[in-house]
C-alpha cells in the first residue's frame, strides 16, 4: 500500500464533510477557463461523479457501510435538485450558477447510474430513483437538445463537439444500457468517433492527445481532458471490443505519461507544440492518475509512475484536508516555469477537483483495508494575490485571505472570507 494513502483519503473525506450544506457540496471554484469565487453554494456538477465513485470503491474495498451511506446521500442531493427540464441545479461549475453545464450534466448521470448499479446489487430499492433521474437527463437534455446527428454539442447554441464532453456522455450511455436501458449504440459509437476524430496524430509532444475544439483556433491539447477520454474508451472497449478504441486509448496513455511532472500534471500544450508551464494541475491530476490505472493492464505503464503521481497528490494535501488546485494559476498560459508564492487560486481546494483525487486514490486502496476517521486542522499558508503577499487561512468553518501588508487609505487587509456551506462569501475584495 502506498504510504499515507489511507490517511490522505480519511482527511480528504473529512474535508469534503466540511464543504457540505443541507443542499449538497459547496465551495468556490478555481479553473483555467475562469474562476467562480463569488457564488459558492451548492452545485450539482461533476464533483458528484468523483465523490460517488470514490465512496463506492471504498465501500467495495473496505466493506464499511459508511461509504455506501455517503454515496447514497450524494445521490439524494442530486435527485432533489433535478429541475423540471431534466437538467441539474447550477451544474455549470466554473461558469457559475446556471443549469446545463457540460460535461457536468453527463458526469452527474455517470454518478447516478454507478450508484444505481451499486444499490441494485445491494438490494436497495432506491436504485430506481437514481436510474430514472439519469435517464430523464439523458433523454431530455442530451438526446433532445445536444445531439446533432454526429455527436453531442457543447450547448444547444454552441455546435462544438468537444471530445471529453462526448466521452462523459458515452460513459453515461454505457452505464444506462448496462442497467437495462434502451439500446443507445448509435449515440455511443458517434460519440466515440468524435473522440477519435480529435486525437492528434504524429510523434510530437501532443501526439495521442485530444484537441479541445472548444478552444477554436488555439487548439489546446489538455491532459486532464484526454484522461477522461481514455477512461471512456477503455469502458467502451470492454463493451464493444473494437481494436481502434484500444489503440486510441493507448496513444492517449503515452501522451498522459509525458504530462506527469514532479509537482502534478501539465496543464496542456499550445497548437505549435509548446508546453504550457502554468498552471501545473494538482488536485485535477486525479483524473490522469485514474486513466493511468485503467490503462495499466493494456500498455506499458510503469507502476512507479502511478506510485509517484499518487505520492505527489498525497504530499500536496494540507492539514485542513483539501488538496490545492494548482501551481501557477496566477500566470495562466505562461510557458516559463512558475517560481514564487502560490496564487490564492492555486491553494484554494475545490470540491470539483478534489473529488478526482479522492476517486483515483480510492482505486489504490487494497481490499480489506480500514480507514480511520481523521480530524481536519487549521492551516495558514503564504500566498499572493495580484503579486501582493497574502495569508491563506483555512479551518473547518472558514476560508480566508488577508493581505500581509496593511493597505493604505484605511482599506481592510481582509480580501476574502467564505464561511463554508454559505452561498456567497462574507468578504470579497479581490
Amino acid at each position: 500500500m502506498i504510504e499515507g494513502l489511507l490517511t490522505t483519503i480519511a482527511r480528504l473525506d473529512a474535508w469534503l464533510e466540511t464543504m457540505r450544506s443541507p443542499h449538497g457540496y459547496t465551495g468556490p471554484v478555481a479553473h483555467w477557463w475562469e474562476s467562480c469565487l463569488l457564488y459558492s453554494g451548492p452545485m450539482i456538477d461533476w464533483r458528484y461523479e468523483g465523490i460517488i465513485a470514490g465512496c463506492l470503491t471504498l465501500f467495495e474495498r473496505t466493506g464499511e457501510s459508511r461509504w455506501l451511506d455517503r454515496a447514497g446521500r450524494a445521490g439524494e442531493d442530486i435527485v432533489r435538485s433535478q429541475l423540471a427540464t431534466g437538467e441539474f441545479y447550477n451544474s455549470s461549475f466554473q461558469v457559475g450558477p446556471i443549469e446545463g453545464g457540460t460535461p457536468h450534466e453527463a458526469a452527474v448521470d455517470v454518478a447516478l447510474l454507478t450508484l444505481a448499479a451499486a444499490f441494485r446489487s445491494a438490494g436497495d430499492t432506491r436504485w430506481q430513483g437514481f436510474y430514472c433521474a439519469a435517464e430523464r437527463n439523458l433523454q431530455e437534455f442530451y438526446l433532445a437538445r445536444l445531439w446533432d446527428g454526429r455527436g453531442f454539442t457543447d450547448q444547444p447554441w454552441n455546435g462544438a463537439r468537444v471530445a471529453n464532453k462526448n466521452a462523459t456522455v458515452l460513459e453515461a450511455l454505457l452505464l444506462y444500457e448496462a442497467l437495462g436501458g434502451e439500446p443507445r449504440e448509435i449515440y455511443i459509437r458517434a460519440a466515440a468517433e468524435v473522440i477519435l476524430g480529435t486525437q492528434v496524430a504524429g510523434e510530437d509532444d501532443r501526439a495521442g492527445a485530444t484537441v479541445h475544439v472548444g478552444t477554436r483556433a488555439h487548439r489546446l491539447a489538455i491532459p486532464i481532458y484526454t484522461a477522461r477520454c481514455a477512461c471512456a474508451l477503455m469502458m467502451l472497449y470492454h463493451r464493444y471490443p473494437d481494436a481502434r478504441y484500444l489503440e486510441s486509448a493507448r496513444r492517449m496513455g503515452a501522451f498522459l505519461l509525458r504530462s506527469v511532472l514532479s509537482r502534478g500534471t501539465r496543464f496542456g500544450y499550445y497548437r505549435d507544440g509548446r508546453a504550457i508551464a502554468c498552471p501545473v494541475w494538482i488536485s485535477p491530476s486525479g483524473d490522469v492518475l485514474r486513466a493511468l490505472i485503467a490503462l495499466q493492464p493494456h500498455m506499458d505503464i510503469p507502476a512507479g509512475m502511478i506510485h509517484s503521481l499518487a505520492q505527489t497528490l498525497i504530499a500536496a494535501q494540507t492539514d485542513a484536508g483539501g488538496i490545492p488546485t494548482a501551481r501557477g494559476l496566477g500566470r495562466k498560459g505562461s510557458t516559463r516555469e512558475f517560481r514564487g508564492l502560490p496564487d490564492f487560486r492555486d491553494l484554494l481546494p475545490v470540491v470539483g477537483w478534489c473529488d478526482k483525487t479522492f476517486r483515483a486514490l480510492a482505486l489504490l486502496v487494497e481490499p480489506g483495508a480500514q480507514i480511520e476517521d481523521m480530524p481536519v486542522q487549521d492551516v495558514r499558508l503564504d500566498c499572493s494575490w495580484k503579486t501582493r503577499p497574502c495569508l491563506y487561512e483555512e479551518s473547518e468553518s472558514t476560508i480566508r485571505l488577508t493581505e500581509r501588508r496593511i493597505p493604505r487609505g484605511g482599506r481592510s487587509p481582509l480580501l476574502y472570507e467564505w464561511r463554508k456551506g454559505e452561498v456567497y462569501p462574507r468578504a470579497f475584495d479581490l
Binding site: H218, K332, G333, S334
Partner: protein
C-alpha cells in the same frame, strides 16, 4: 438587446449584485424584472433567501422550477428587506421601498459609446440621481472599466498567434473585472447599492 445569462458582463454583474445582497442577509428580496430569463438568473443565486417577491403571478412558476428558494410570491407594494433592479431601473420611477437596494445598469460614459454612439441609453449620473431619491449610495462598482478593456484588447490582439500573451492578458483583465473609484464612472456596466434614506 436580449438578455444572455452567459455574457461576461451579465453574469459577473449579477454575481456582484447578489453578493452585495447576501452581505446584508435580508430575509425577503424583491426582483424588479419582468423578463423570465432575468428572473431565472437572479433566482439561481438567491437560494439562501427565505422569501422572494416577483413582479407578476406569471413569474412564480418560472422561479418555482428551482428547488430553492422555498417561498416565491407575487405581492405588489409589499415592502421587502432588499431589492435587486437588474438592468431594469428605467422601468421604475423610483427604487422600490426596500431597506437595501442593488441596481445594475449600462453606462453610456464608457467604451461602448465609442464603438456604438447613442446605443447605451442610461448613464452613471442619471442612475445615481435616480437611486439617491430613496437610498444612500454606499457602494459603486463598475465592470468593463478602461483598465479591463485595455488588457482585454491586448489579449484579443495577441490571439492564437501569441497564445501565452493571449491567455496571460485575458486573465489580467478578468482579475480586474470589478472596478471602484474613477474606473467605475467609466465602466460599461455599473452596480449601485445602498440603504434606504
Amino acid at each position: 438587446m436580449a438578455f444572455n445569462p452567459y455574457m461576461i458582463e451579465t453574469h459577473y454583474a449579477l454575481e456582484m449584485a447578489v453578493f452585495l445582497l447576501h452581505s446584508r442577509q435580508p430575509a425577503s428580496i424583491r426582483i424588479c424584472a419582468d423578463d423570465p430569463d432575468v428572473v431565472r438568473a437572479v433566482i439561481r443565486r438567491c437560494g439562501w433567501a427565505a422569501e422572494v417577491v416577483v413582479e407578476s403571478p406569471e413569474l412564480i412558476p418560472v422561479a418555482e422550477v428551482y428547488p430553492m428558494p422555498a417561498n416565491v410570491i407575487h405581492a405588489p407594494g409589499k415592502k421587502t428587506d432588499a431589492a435587486v433592479i437588474p438592468f431594469t431601473r428605467r422601468h421604475y420611477t423610483q427604487a422600490p421601498p426596500a431597506d437595501y437596494a442593488v441596481a445594475i445598469t449600462h453606462n453610456a460614459f464608457s467604451y461602448k459609446s465609442l464603438l456604438r454612439p447613442g446605443q447605451v441609453e442610461d448613464n452613471i449620473v442619471s442612475m445615481r440621481r435616480w437611486l439617491a431619491q430613496t437610498h444612500r449610495i454606499e457602494q459603486q462598482i463598475g465592470l468593463l472599466a478602461p483598465g479591463f478593456i485595455a488588457r482585454w484588447s491586448l489579449a484579443a490582439a495577441a490571439g492564437p498567434r501569441f497564445p501565452a500573451l493571449h491567455f496571460g492578458w485575458s486573465q489580467r483583465a478578468m482579475d480586474r473585472i470589478y472596478a471602484a473609484g474613477v474606473g467605475a464612472w467609466l465602466s460599461y456596466v455599473l452596480i449601485l447599492a445602498g440603504g434606504r434614506r
